[in-house]
Amino acid sequence: MSDALLLEVRDLVVSFDGVRAVEGVSFEIAPGPFGLGLVGESGSGKTTIARAVVRLLEADRGEIRFLGADVRRLGRAALRRYRQSVQIVFQDPDGTLDPRMRIGAALAEAVTAHRKLPRAAVNERVDRLLHEVGLEERHRRRFPHQLSGGQRQRVAIARALAVEPRLLVLDEPTSALDVTVQAKVLELIAQLRDQHALAYLLISHNLAVIEQLCEETVVLYRGRVLEVGPTEQLLNRPAHPYTQALRAAVPDLEPRVRASAAAAAALPVRHETARCPYYTRCPLAVERCRDEQPLLRDVAGRSVACHRAEDALAFAGHPLHLASGS
């Protein structure tokens, strides 16, 4: 029943700068309140996916369906309407706002982007948006450089909300912020999710952030999905060796010595060959991994692309392995 889904991505392939950044990625987002986390490191393709979903980039192949409609084939008018339903918040708080425009004007522009409103109504909406993201009326007259990074990111969120979207794509929204500021912005996102029954695609390299805000998580590596499933299960009992490595690598506040992660990574090179993309770094790799690319299959309640997923789950408690020993 794909009409019940808000966003459905199937076998997405995207090239970027001549390189295949996204290779056959599929995932689904239910109507809000719902959060899907896209976690991966650099080169995983997560930002490329975000941009393809909002059509800032054109995908090569695959489907992106919003409420059943194929987003890739939208005509100009329909695309404008799509832009009203799906919005994006970028990572960099410094470049995300026009430095020559006051905050109030920027928000007013967003509010009137898709409909004409009398001045008073626009101002009222702008004030309401500012309040929603924890800012005040007096911030309307400020320029971006007169705000802190966290405040600018709040404005970016307000701008995205101005058109009343049903889906929000958040591309590393807090990575460039200080940790105390980050916590507040994440809180804000949680609040807005409840207030607006918002659905979002949250992209992050930080597993803890994903855990806080997302029901389901997709683990990406070099453009492919390695594991996808309910966040709690995925993080507590990761079935893919890469997910396990990610989990183990997250430094937590317990001052403990950890087993070292796999040896130095190879230079990022795109291999079109039919083998597991994680082969060169995987501690569980065997010959089959080099010869045959693992497809996603159901293991322990989620989809995992690994020939040895069952072994990975079993080894999860082993001290010599990169497990989260808890």
């Binding site: 940790v179 916590a183 803890a208 855990e211 806080q212 805000l213 993080l235 506040l253 130095a264």
Partner: protein, 258 residues
């Protein structure tokens, strides 16, 4: 005390941005300096290297390396200290390298500046790369041909090749993937043992600092609000800012809040 900072005041155009009463780094110790942006941690690191003045800052107080006062040294004397005694690595290693110079040449040039002859330099470069778990073939590469993790390892290898005893690391892992970050932290730990390095590790990430450092100092608005052993600070933080920092770190296992 390997490195001792006392009453250090750093000012820009009359505005004091750092007012640090005391900070110590003992031999073979890893001390973490934690703070958010604007806390003054990076400018403090630059001041130790004598680089703050070129940015227009005035530095007063005492910064002593093995008992020898660094503030007030001439530029020539400082150049002998930099690299040779105190090495520094930065957040973005690739941009810290000259893009037109191959890695191997960078090693040889730097070592020769510090009085090592060419053949010796070549050998030391290879040894240093081995220490950081990289193959010698990387010496022929240009900086843009390195991954972030490799570049950072090479920056560390330079310090090893120069046989520095103090390493100042300014957010060395902030721009790296989390798995690569874990590797670099492990590498630093190993080098501390093997080379008896003393490391001043600067970061905004309390969790990373908790993994690596023996002692931690928390900076805010230019001064240290709390310092102590890592374990002590994490379990019994006394300053409200430290508590706020700890509370703000997103923790795994915290479950969903939305």
């Amino acid at each position: 005390m390997k490195l001792a900072l006392r009453d250090v005041r750093i000012a820009f155009e009359g505005r004091t941005v750092v007012a640090l009463d005391a900070l110590d780094l003992a031999e073979n110790e890893i001390v973490g300096l934690v703070g958010e942006s604007g806390s003054g941690k990076s400018i403090t690191a630059l001041a130790v290297m004598g680089l703050a003045r070129s940015l227009g800052a005035t530095v007063t107080g005492s910064i002593a390396l093995d008992g020898r006062e660094l503030l007030g040294l001439s530029e020539r004397q400082l150049r002998q200290v930099r690299g040779r005694r105190v090495a520094m690595i930065f957040q973005s290693p690739v941009s810290a390298f000259n893009p037109l110079v191959r890695v191997g040449d960078l090693f040889v040039r730097t070592l020769r500046v510090h009085g090592v002859d060419s053949t010796d330099a070549g050998r030391r470069a290879e040894d240093a790369l081995r220490e950081v778990l990289l193959g010698p073939e990387l010496l022929r590469r240009y900086p843009h041909q390195l991954s972030g993790g490799q570049a950072q390892r090479i920056a560390i290898a330079l310090a090893v090749a120069l046989r520095s005893d103090v390493l100042i690391a300014d957010e060395p892992t902030s721009a790296l993937d989390v798995t690569v970050q874990a590797e670099i932290i492990e590498l630093l730990r190993m080098l501390r043992e093997r080379e008896r390095l003393s490391i001043l590790f600067i970061s905004h990430d309390l969790a990373v600092v908790a993994q690596l450092c023996d002692r931690v100092a928390v900076m805010r608005n230019g001064s240290i609000v709390e310092s102590g052993t890592t374990a002590g600070l994490l379990r019994h933080p006394s300053h409200p800012y430290t508590r706020a920092l700890l509370a703000a770190v997103p923790r795994l296992g915290g479950g969903r809040t939305a």
